[in-house]
């Protein structure tokens, strides 16, 4: 009896790695806003944390986060889903076609449904036929591009405002605005009080014209967290990603769980595409996703296969993408200083934990970026557009060794292989 107790104690004392509680998100958010306020103060850039920037960030973040959430479902069940991009593309078309003919909310459903079709192909190929997950994903990406372009020519040509590569203008899914609060926060933001204005700008971005699809995305995040980490269903699904053989011996129908996961994954990626079509712009266009499915996958890896981390990764990407587009030259220039200081801090931390070589590389990078900051005034447009990708690379290079993916992720599993 004492033995069981001690095991239980030990289990209780083990804190799962890479787990972040929701409170830390709030604290982190406040920290980021504080940093941005400091940067604005030091550099004189004024668009780093305005409500306009933050609103645009939200719009840029949601599709990446939704795609990443799709990736999370699939990979937690052990199926690598590089076909997210293709499923997103199918989603953009679904939103365009159904959105035009039956109204925006049917468009949302259509996006999810077409994304799920992509998921179905992926599930059939990887689960039933044991195809390499990456091969199947690449094939789906090719098929999706071909299929949507072919269908767009078929269905949108000749419609008012539509053409071979784009759908007619679509309706709006609606949005929430808390008018008086928004105005009051706007006044606070306008006062330019250090940090307070930035917090006001952040809150204002949340209460002004908040698209209902953003709310839907938030709900899906909470729901995913609850389903996957707080229910027996989720435990079984995740066990298929960690050790399908063990799951099978416990009577879990691994194929069924993998199917459910990959279908959900496709539907979420489809929704991400639908968001691009219905909210981020107002019609379907060829090539609308611009590789965001891949970036969602990167955000999920950055987030250590957890919803909260994934959200932070998408936020980082959405923010840097937005900066590149709005007054990019000044904002990204200011951001350089911030990155240089952060890198220097990382270097000190690495030095203290005896990673001498890494510390050297970080110092070198920090000095290099600082030199760039002081030698130019404005970052050229081509480089501001690079920001999100460079940031992702940098962050992954810093963090990737602390990440752990599901143990059986990407592996082939055949029913009946558990002895």
């Amino acid at each position: 009896m004492s033995r069981t107790a001690s095991v239980r104690d030990r289990l209780a004392s083990v804190r799962p790695r890479g787990r972040i509680s929701p409170w830390w998100i709030l604290i982190g958010l406040a920290g980021v806003l504080l940093l941005l306020s400091l940067l604005q103060l030091v550099t004189g850039a004024n668009d780093l944390a305005s409500s306009g920037t933050l609103r645009a960030t939200l719009i840029a973040t949601v599709p990446i986060a939704l795609a990443g959430l799709g990736g999370l479902w699939a990979e937690r069940a052990g199926v690598v889903n590089i076909g997210l991009e293709g499923m997103m593309i199918l989603g953009t078309y679904g939103a365009g076609f159904f959105g035009y003919h039956y109204g925006p909310w049917v468009g949302v459903l259509g996006a999810a449904a077409l994304g799920a079709v992509g998921g179905l192909i992926h599930a059939l190929a990887t689960v039933v036929f044991g195809v390499d997950h990456i091969i199947s994903g690449v094939a789906i990406n090719i098929i999706a591009i071909g299929a949507t372009q072919y269908l767009a020519v078929q269905t949108f040509t000749g419609l008012p405002g539509g053409g071979q590569t784009q759908s007619p203008k679509l309706g709006d899914v609606g949005s929430i605005s808390i008018g008086p609060l928004s105005e009051a926060l706007g006044q606070v933001e306008g006062r330019n009080i250090f940090f307070v204005s930035e917090v006001a700008a952040f809150l204002r971005a949340l209460v002004t014209d908040l698209s209902l699809m953003v709310v839907l995305a938030a709900v899906l995040f909470v729901l995913t967290y609850f389903l996957l980490w707080r229910t027996a269903f989720g435990l079984r699904l995740r066990s298929c990603g960690e050790s399908p053989v063990a799951a099978e011996t416990l009577g879990v129908n691994v194929y069924r769980y993998k199917f459910i996961a990959v279908l959900t994954s496709g539907a979420l990626a489809g929704l991400a595409g639908g968001f691009l079509t219905l909210v981020a712009s107002s019609n379907y266009r060829d090539g609308q996703t611009g590789g965001r499915g891949y970036i969602g996958l990167a955000a999920m890896i950055f987030g250590n296969w957890r919803p909260t981390g994934l959200l932070m990764g998408s936020g980082l990407f959405g923010y840097t993408e937005t900066l590149g587009l709005r007054q990019g030259g000044d904002s990204v220039h200011a951001l350089l200083l911030g990155i240089a200081v952060l890198l220097a801090a990382v270097a000190v931390w690495q030095w203290r934990s005896r990673q001498r070589l890494s510390a050297g590389v970080s110092t070198f990078l920090a000095i290099g970026i600082a030199i760039v900051y002081f030698s130019i005034d404005v970052v050229p447009g081509d480089f501001t557009r690079m920001t999100p990708y460079v940031t992702t690379l940098l962050v992954l290079a810093m963090a990737s060794q602390r990440l752990r993916m599901p143990a059986a992720d990407g592996m082939r599993y055949r029913r009946g292989t558990a002895g």
Binding site: V138, I142, Y150
Partner: protein, 368 residues
């Protein structure tokens, strides 16, 4: 049937099954969309004219190099999605070097090719280095590097480019005429030249086979790809192999744009052909990383692309339909190989069972 015959027919059966099912699925899509199925196929499957044959061979050359570049990575279990970025940045570098014409004649060509290989290798090397030292997944890093190369090339192009008179297209300086690689005319008429680079591409294929199957490096590479633990146990430095194979893959990727640069476009501009890297992934998968398989895959893709061009004009169907076919082929090829493998396995088991049931007869068909 002897076991050998069975094996052979199964081997041929898989690709045939794949093509047939891709054909059926595409026909179904056309049928559902209400397009004329018969006319589409008779257009695509008609005998190409000499001019079209030249085009098919030319685009197959480019796709072949791209497929080889991806296949090097695949042999190592590395997934180089970044061939797209690598060949574009390398083609830009080669065009800039060749346009300056520092050296006379073919020396200039050689210098430019060298630049292309080095730049392609360096760009892929970033991903290799990140993977080897920091454990960053090459899938993600090469995708990011693709985006970065797009912006970087746009920036540098604006720096070195010359604007053509009366047009908005900017491009690098033209490659001098004496540094161009002459084409080979198929029938003597204009428009039927194939790139002289075809032979260099074939040499690359031979080299790929020799290096992988006849050298220590190739053995190490395949060993690491098949079992990393076994590779470590036999003393292979896996990190160094990761970096080396990314460099080789990137170097090959650097050559992808070269047939176009020295055989047709003569400069790198904003209209330079893009997306060749992604096609390369599909082709490497189709050819199962074998140099001859990749060649067949490249020819098939080039054939479908070329033959679908007149679809819009002749039967009013979007040529994008062949992209669906191409994607489906990639999927059906792998699936049918798997189906055939399982079928072959069952066949073998049945053979063994039959042989065991009648122990007195010495069946020669029992597989060892």
């Amino acid at each position: 049937m002897t076991p050998r015959m069975t094996k052979l027919s199964l081997g041929i059966g898989a690709p045939v099954l794949a093509l047939v099912s891709a054909f059926v699925i595409t026909s179904l899509v056309l049928l559902v969309a209400g397009d004329p199925v018969g006319e589409v196929w008779s257009t695509i499957l008609s005998v190409p004219e000499t001019r079209n044959v030249a085009n098919i061979i030319n685009s197959a050359t480019v796709l072949y190099l791209s497929g080889l570049a991806v296949a090097v990575g695949f042999k190592m279990n590395l997934f180089n999605i970044g061939v797209d970025g690598q060949y574009r940045i390398a083609a830009f570098a080669a065009a800039a070097v060749a346009g300056e014409a520092w050296l006379p004649g073919y020396l200039n060509t050689l210098l430019a090719l060298l630049a292309a290989i080095l730049v392609g290798a360096a760009w892929a090397g970033i991903a290799g280095l990140l993977r080897a030292t920091r454990g960053v997944s090459e899938v993600i890093s090469t995708i990011m590097l693709n985006f970065i190369s797009t912006s970087l090339v746009a920036y540098m192009l604006r720096r070195v480019a010359v604007r053509e008179e009366g047009s908005n297209i900017i491009a690098t300086k033209q490659v001098p005429e004496r540094s161009r690689i002459p084409g080979l005319s198929l029938s003597g008429e204009a428009g039927t030249e194939i790139y002289g680079f075809v032979f260099i591409a074939i040499l690359c294929g031979v080299g790929y086979w020799l290096v992988l199957n006849r050298t220590r490096f190739g053995f190490d590479l395949r060993a690491t790809g098949q079992s990393e633990t076994a590779a470590v146990a036999s003393g292979i430095n896996v990190k160094r192999m990761v970096l080396a194979s990314m460099l080789v893959s990137g170097g090959l990727a650097g050559l992808v744009g070269m047939p176009i640069l020295f055989g047709g476009a003569y400069s790198y501009g904003s209209t330079f052909q893009s997306g060749l890297g992604f096609a390369g992934i599909a082709i490497a998968l189709l050819g199962r990383n074998h140099p001859i398989g990749i060649a067949l895959g490249a020819l098939l893709f080039a054939f479908l692309d070329e033959q679908s061009n007149p679809l819009q004009i002749l039967v009013d169907v979007s040529p994008d339909i062949v992209k669906i076919t191409q994607g489906i082929i990639v999927l059906t090829v792998v699936i049918s190989y798997e189906v055939v493998r399982r079928y072959g396995l069952r066949l073998e088991q049945r053979h063994v069972a039959q042989a065991l049931e009648r122990p007195e007869s010495k069946s020669p068909e029992v597989p060892a």
